[in-house]
Symmetry: C2
Subunit: 594 residues, 2 copies
């Protein structure tokens, strides 16, 4: 396995030239933020990812987390790495300063999250889940809960989990059966939860579970679910962890990948009931969970990007080293490194172009989050929030689907060596494969995009997006560089496909939601390719300016060529997706009979 | 994991209605073959696959083959299953009757091979490799070698291997360094081979290795490679296995999948040299190997189909059982089995439609092989041989790429359960993942299609194919059933895309082979989708006739709907591929600089 090297040059390009880091730094509350600070933070994060997290990735996969008589033991070296992660201040990077966080922009956080996941996705899941739990408590917890739990969660001294799924209730949380019985100031929790990421481990002094459960008199369905905080160790009056709570991990799942991330079956209340504290209002648990869903889905989208980046690095280095075969064209008399073979080049460019498109899309979304949170103008905040709400399912769905595709292509570049676990390419495929499933499958993202987002506002947010996409076209078409013009032409066709598909989707929803939903996954992918194309088109325009000014020609020539590859070789998928979308559910009517 | 059930109804439809089993049975040399015999053989094969091979698939994956002090031990139960496979006569199904084979048509063999691979791909690899070795000896071995080795290979009493790859020579066999030194009637072989499938095991009394090696005075490169037969145990005068030969497995690879298929590093000649016998002519080893390449690649193409079929069965059964969520349309007040959710239906139909297209393509190709081998008219034989030569790389490349895609989609249908190894869906993805790599990667198939096949005859065989594709269009467009007309319209567009892409490829080759090869993988996929579409269009036409005659309406309605889904939802990829092909190497020019 090659060593992970953070793609700092491209990260900086995207942050500065496409996502507007300078403007983000000027938002209220980011007084200490500057491009220089971002540079320094990224350098340090890159160092940590390469030196601490990356070396543990393969051994962690081979060893996995283990369930012992004393709970779950993390893979060797993980506890020490986590300690360094906490002491380095990485946990609270974007955390609330009121509870000790550094309050840095989501834009910077996105780059760090990419690095943690590229270098060690199994490890990165632990702070990712903690951030979700932290956010739920911050937004909905009482002042007492916040004061007692948030400082240690923000710093990472303790970790957090999300306990949603039960065996009979996968994505359908209406079916949750875990019970919560009031007992004085607290509740007693009884039930079993499955698929709990980092549900237990030995890296920190406490684990804070957020648990969905039903009160005794709660209504059926999603309106009868409440949210509870259940610590692994109950807190003493001084706030230190004390007695065991009645909760434990009873088994670990044997998974395709992310072996070092323990996926726990958690049992609550085997001995009288686990003590839990209500977070927010009774029966509003699901709504409280949903408030942090955008952030969780955004992070998983970045995981897709991160795995794709890692697979691309690995494949690129292998292709440059592995000498095999001559060129069919006879241009070289000797055997060449396989990077010179046209089809290997195609695979590598397919990986590179989509990685860069995903990165630009993801970071620009992160800057939209910063604007939605911090912009002084309320209309601007609302506009950016609408954009985020519309595109988060696309970021999650599209980037994770591409993550799997690109990790699989990474295996392919290696030939037979790719299939051997020692090489490391398989692990990226195995790890990446979960990301299209958890935090809502691609199908659920697609239903969210098409139903809750597109149909709910009758296409208003999408129309605003399409109008913005069209704004970049004239300049592309007028550009002096033929490569930029080619990018513009292909991008214009893709935007048209998106507009046509959107009209079809809205029409279908008006008639039959099932018909529209049958095309929703193709629609999500179409939106993703077009949004990636948008950022690559913007990148091409910037690159042509920089080249005219003779700035960093090596980087900008590659960027321009990559944008062209994306436009010419990837974006044509838009027209095929449009055709598939317009076909609706087609022959799928017979499927239930099989 | 669900139980594998052979899709006999669809297999029979394809064999009888699309591949012309009756006409195949009428070819010279197939005197005993009839549709009734085929039915009986398929029934028995299906039973063997379900009852013997399928139950060993998951345990075999979990345990894997192991290297012991006495060589490789197959996973538990495999030796007994192999014994039954041999005694059932399955090994010699399509084998040469002169050496004890049953000489049945490739068309029937294709269905059996699909079943072996669907039920247990790791197991199926063993007879698949034996068949390759058998064919090499049959075509190029001396009479003595044939008499001494073929009967036991054809029956399966012994198994065979192909020893090509060396650490420094993956797909580039010019780099082979294993040495062969003449010594009287035989040769002494020295060297190391890697990636040797079923290179050693404890299931049979002997293992017959076919080994590529160089004579002392051999020229450099591919023209200095000879082929040798190297038995694990030297034969006594009476033909029984006797003394150990100087060959052994020194390690097993730790792979992503096909764990029960031992992938061996083989060492020849650690103690003075392994005794080997020349097969065919000196320095013609590579040419001798290539004569059986079509067959090996055809079988691997069928593996892609087989894995896709298995993944589809597993996903379909899960989707019918797993109750979760309500329909967005509100058509059902209660939670429904997920098969009713529109996006799950889309995934299942995407799997089903492509599985059926692959099966039809693969079996029709098998019938072309029978015609190429047995047709009384020499021109017809030549015409079918040209078709096979053209399309074998497509069968191999397209079906194995779809195999991976569909196995991955099978995981997705399961949601979180799909990621858990116990469910079994992951194994199909892990197993399927090798098939785009071995027997020549998809890139190598694409180069073969574009360079050796398309460019070499200046598009003649492809032009003949396109003409034949066009022949089915008028009838489709005139059909009384609107579904068939829709199929015809989409198929016509795809054929046009193929024609345009072919013209571009031929033009590109005339200018720069590298430019053409940069588009060759997209071209291969385009040819695959169109050929699949051809068979599905033919199937639609047959189905509409049968429905008019009120024959088996359930099957033929599903077939028609599936053909429509394929045409409307899958075939649009053709236009996107055409655009990507015509873009040539696009921005890939910069890739070497990275």
């Amino acid at each position: 396995m090659t060593t992970y090297i953070a793609p700092l040059r491209d990260m900086r390009f995207v942050m500065n030239e496409l996502a507007g880091l300078e403007a983000i730094a000027a938002l209220p509350g980011f007084d200490d933020v500057s491009p220089e600070l971002a540079d320094a933070v990224l350098d340090e994060a890159a160092k940590f990812a390469t030196e601490v997290l990356d070396p543990l990735n393969k051994p962690g996969d081979a060893q996995g987390a283990r369930l012992t008589g004393h709970g779950v033991a993390a893979a060797d070296g993980f506890a020490r790495a986590y300690e360094q992660y906490v002491s380095g201040g990485w946990c609270g990077l974007a955390g609330d300063p009121e509870f000790g966080g550094q309050g840095l922009p989501e834009l910077m956080h996105a780059a760090a999250v990419e690095m943690w996941n590229s270098s060690n996705m199994a490890f990165a899941l632990c702070p990712m889940l903690t951030a979700g739990a932290t956010e739920a408590i911050r937004l909905h917890g009482s002042q007492t809960l916040k004061e007692r739990y948030l400082p240690n969660l923000v710093s990472g001294e303790w970790t957090g989990t999300m306990n949603l799924t039960e065996p009979q209730a996968g994505s359908d949380l209406a079916a949750v059966r875990t019970k919560a019985v009031p007992e004085g100031e607290h509740y007693r929790i009884h039930g079993q939860k499955i698929f709990i990421t980092w549900g237990d481990h030995d890296m920190t002094g406490n684990v804070i579970h957020l648990v969905l459960a039903r009160l005794p008199d709660a209504p059926e369905g999603v309106r009868g679910i409440s949210l509870f905080l259940v610590p692994k160790f109950l807190l003493n009056d001084d706030g230190t962890p004390g007695a065991n709570n009645d909760v434990r991990c009873i088994s670990l799942e044997h998974k395709l990948g992310i072996h070092a991330s323990p996926t726990c079956v958690m049992s609550f209340g085997e001995n009288g009931g686990a003590i839990g504290y209500l977070v927010g209002q009774e029966n509003k648990g699901l709504a409280h969970m949903f408030t942090m869903m955008n952030e969780a889905r955004q992070k998983v989208g970045i995981q897709g990007l991160a795995m794709a980046e890692r697979a691309w690095q690995q494949a690129r280095e292998y292709a440059k080293e592995r000498v095999q075969g001559r060129l069919a064209s006879g241009k070289s008399p000797n055997a060449v490194a396989i990077v010179h073979h046209p089809d290997v080049r195609r695979m590598l460019m397919t990986m590179k172009a989509q990685v860069e498109a995903m990165r630009a899309f993801a970071y620009v979304m992160a800057s939209d989050m910063d604007r939605a949170h911090r912009h002084p103008d309320g209309d601007e905040r609302a506009r950016h929030q609408a954009r985020i709400d519309l595109l988060i399912p696309v970021l999650k769905g599209w980037c994770t689907e591409l993550g799997v595709e690109i990790a699989s292509m990474g295996v392919q570049v290696h030939g037979g060596m790719g299939y051997i676990e020692e090489t490391g390419a398989c692990q990226f495929l195995r790890d990446a494969r979960i990301a299209t499933i958890y935090e809502g499958t691609t199908g659920i993202q697609a239903a969210d995009l098409a139903g809750r987002k597109l149909a709910a506002d009758r296409g208003a947010a999408m129309a605003a997006l399409i109008a913005q996409l069209r704004e970049v076209l004239p300049a592309l078409e007028r550009n002096a560089d033929a490569q930029v013009v080619s990018v513009g032409t292909r991008f214009a066709a893709a935007v048209q496909a998106l507009e046509d598909a959107t009209a079809w989707m809205l029409g279908a929803f008006a008639k039959d939601a099932d018909e529209a939903l049958g095309s929703s996954a193709d629609y999500l992918m179409l939106v993703g390719y077009v949004c990636g194309g948008w950022q690559m088109a913007r990148a091409a325009a910037v690159a042509s300016q920089k080249l005219a000014a003779q700035e960093d020609p090596e980087f900008y020539q590659a960027k321009l060529a990559t944008a062209r590859f994306y436009a010419e070789k990837i974006l044509p998928k838009a027209s095929a997706l449009l055709e598939a979308i317009k076909a609706g559910t087609s022959g799928a009517v017979v499927i239930e009979q099989l």
